[in-house]
Amino acid sequence: MFSIYITAFVVGGLICVIGQLLFDVAKLTPAHTLCTLVVIGSILDGFGLYEPLIDFAGTGATIPITSFGNALTHGALAEAEKHGFIGVLTGMFEVTSSGISAAILFAFIAVFLFKPKGDV
């Protein structure tokens, strides 16, 4: 029961370590790093490796941005399995990531509540 907390911490932390290495060693900007991680998540799901990782690490795998690539690919693959090539497209349109809608919604709410502050 408790092991899920440990695996979530460790796996989530390790994915962030990969991100940090892309920052510091590969000298990528944050945007490039996040795009790279999303593509990695998507490819891992192509090999069927990301879902087992979620089973193992819970939010350690669903909270890092890699899971966004996984979610999109997973939706596309699930539809493709049923409907063939056309499913690749319909599957992607069908998947709505709660991350994006939540970000849009809360960002718009934040506009009314907050102002940027340039403090340290």
């Binding site: 029961m1 408790f2 087992p52 089973d55 193992f56 979610a71």
Partner: protein
């Protein structure tokens, strides 16, 4: 100090509320089935460290907890177990899930035995498992 105490209180509360089901094997027979076969099958699987199984009417619902490093394959383990249980009990509709929600809910069903609602609850659980993300 006060913050730490609050934090500890909060954490223990979360753990408790999280349906912290101990790692044990619970089998409940309310369908006049021979459950020993299932018991042996589940207990002999080394990857499984806890389970709750409920035979009710024409349903068999099993929630399992797999060992940490077997979690990578937990969907596969559950579906393997489901196939073998279906072979053992061809007349029952079998549901096996490695999802901790199913384990806690099945445990709850076993512990709070009010016969009237069980059928409904089981159908609810089945719907829950089939739900897509």
């Amino acid at each position: 100090m006060i913050i730490i105490r609050h934090l500890l209180l909060f954490l223990s509360l979360v753990f408790l509320l999280a349906g912290c089901v101990p790692n044990e094997f619970r089998f409940e027979n309310r369908a006049n089935q021979n459950i020993s076969q299932a018991e042996v099958l589940v207990k002999e699987d080394e990857r499984i460290k806890g389970a709750a199984a409920l035979f009710y009417d024409d349903h068999l619902i099993v929630g399992i907890r797999v060992k940490t490093f077997s979690r990578f394959n937990k969907t596969k383990i559950a579906s393997e177990l489901e196939t073998s249980l279906k072979e053992l009990y061809p007349e029952l509709s079998v549901l096996v899930s490695a999802d901790s929600k199913i384990l806690t809910e099945t445990t709850k069903l076993i512990l709070t035995s009010k016969d009237e609602d069980v059928k409904e609850d089981i159908h609810e659980l089945i719907a829950l498992v089939e739900e897509q993300t």
